[in-house]
Amino acid sequence: MRILIENFTKRFGADTVIDAMNLEVADGEMLALLGPSGCGKSTTLFAVCGLHVVDDGRILFGDEDVTGWSPQRRNVGVVFQSYALYPHMNVFDNVAFPLQVKREPGPAIRRRVSEITAMLEIEHLLERLPAHLSGGQQQRVALARALIRRPGVLLLDEPLANLDARLRLDMRSEIRRLQRETGITAILVTHDQVEAMSMCDRIAIMDRGHVHQIASPADMYRNPVSTFVAGFLGNPPIAFLSGRVRGGRFWLDGSTAGIDLPGGCEALEDGREIRLGVRPEHVRPADSGPLSGKVSFVETHGRENLYDVTLNGGQVLRSIQPVRGDIAPGQTVHCRLDTDKLLVFDREGTRL
């Protein structure tokens, strides 16, 4: 079911936490709400499921305006960050709860519970209390409970935040598989860009109550609309260099090095201050060249090494390279950049 958020505004007292937000999630799509802590992701989610009253704007499921509906009426499946399993009920009752409160007949409930728990591979845990489950098992129970009513919408609030790295990887693909199998429209709240990029069809990136950009992960990575978006996506993160335009080239502040700008930027007037975004994978070592600096930090990631290069003039560039032993901290190196992959932003951070 399509979700349409129109001019959604939310205030807590005098604080306007979300200001006139617009967002559309297509039917069957999985959308990530990505943003730093406190940007209003959970608030948006709570408005969609009806736990928060909307101060202004509308929320539509399909073509139906559900703005005034109670959470009970909306038929939304939610997985909370803490899972919010009912501690005094066993797994069966936890999963069956949404059907029990609808007073569905017992046999139908049992059939549906065994169906959904089989799908999530927790059918052997039905008698257990939540306290006696591992984090991953609790996660699956919470998912089962959210899906048992066949809701039109599935909302996930940082569902993987409490899991260890290995389990997070498993659950990522598991949740995506379930979402695909059920064809449910889903919103995933996360502040982890890897999660957002690997699990979702599209990402809506938020900051302080505003949606900065909505795009597919690849698109957003390649074409961020601002330094904020560019800085949020990518690990290790992008490096920004500040400088000025002169003669159609970029001149690094505090250095005499000139860098070619990518196509489309020829028209920038001389003297304009800009920022250049350089992703680590677009920096390669060279034997010579105008751009040189000292290796200030080396971090090994196993397959790759990450190098911080402090350029002449003090700005820092990051480079990721297949593991090699010939570059050590303190060494002076020359760098070459992939010109057509460079991202150009104005002083305020807007993409040019």
Partner: protein
Amino acid sequence: MTPGKWLGVLFLMPATLFVVVFFLSPVLLTAVFAFTSMSTATGVGEGGYLITPSTLHRLAERGMDRSTAESLGATTYLVNPETLSRARAAGVAAATLDELGQRHAGKSFDGRRGFERALKSLNNRPRSVRALKQAARHFETSVLNRTFGQREDLLAALAASGVRLSDEDRERLVDASYTGWTWTTDNLRRMFGTADTAQVLANTLIYVFVTLILFNTGFALVLAITTFYLPTTEAAVFRGIWFLPRITPPVLYVLLWKWFAWDTGFLSTVLGWFGVASRNWMLDTAFNAWVFVVLINGFVGASMGMIIFSSAIRAIPEPLFWASEVDGASRWQQVRRIILPQLRWPILFVTSYQTLSLLTSFEYILLATDGGPGSTTEVWSLAAYHTALNNYAGNLQYGYGAALALVLVIIGVVLSLLYLRIFNFDALVARPRIET
């Protein structure tokens, strides 16, 4: 012992002293008194020996030959230095007394007639019949209605009066005439044997369980749950109002109820406008009295449960409420499926705690109905108080009252130990009950 341990003992001293003085010793004394016949009549000190007509009656009941018993009550006339000097002091003519002394010293006369005849036969006999009868009076001796300090005094007087008793009868007499308290198990026998006890027991059960179920747990739950769903300010005001009865001085609080229920009080006045005859609504009927007893105690008792339940509800993690709402649960289902199961321990705790405190508290009933009308609202602790410390008849039966109180003490100790086991308080303190 290491110095550290001594320090520990030292620190415990005040508490130990407190427990001994204010808890253990009253309990022990109650247990001791429960097996005595102490009352206002016996006093708490040592008693004397006193034979009254009712003593004679009792003796006959306890198997003394009826004529022997009656003979104890008979009056004899003794002539001895003591009676003579008594008569002299009362102004009987000296000549009469001197002659009586010479002729009949040491004699005893069984009846008035015989002694009067002896007086008449004196040369110096009293001049008028009236004087004669008056003189005779001074020689009357009887063991009846005289208090003897010691057993020996009683026996000496008995011997002097000329009554001969078998050893067995003498012991019976000593027992029956003793006015001090004695050790006895009669109190327990009486308690389990009388219909009054059954009535008081029934009253106690009604009082404790109706108040507990309707108010101390039931209404407290209703208050806690409704205030949970109210906005915070309203909830605080509401809780504050329900807390008032608890912090109002009991006398004032009950007085307000009395004003409310009096025949010229609020209720009568308002109902009077609709033509209902005014009356004392509280003491009008036994049913009304119960309604008021339960309301008065309940309004006070609900606050503790309300506070405990409220904080227990607020300790439930909020996401559980969110989850249940998006899962489609109505308010009522939320209460039944989420809140009540999480309150299992607080409910059990409040119920057991309040059972004990209701069982032992009677001050509100005492102030409100004083057990009336009749003794329809007389509960166990109030009965103990009335028996031992305050009643209309004026004969305070310390022993029996203590026996009644002892039952409460035993129930209290047993229940407390039981609760300590159930709740395993250490664990309760150590580990939160709500798991997420």
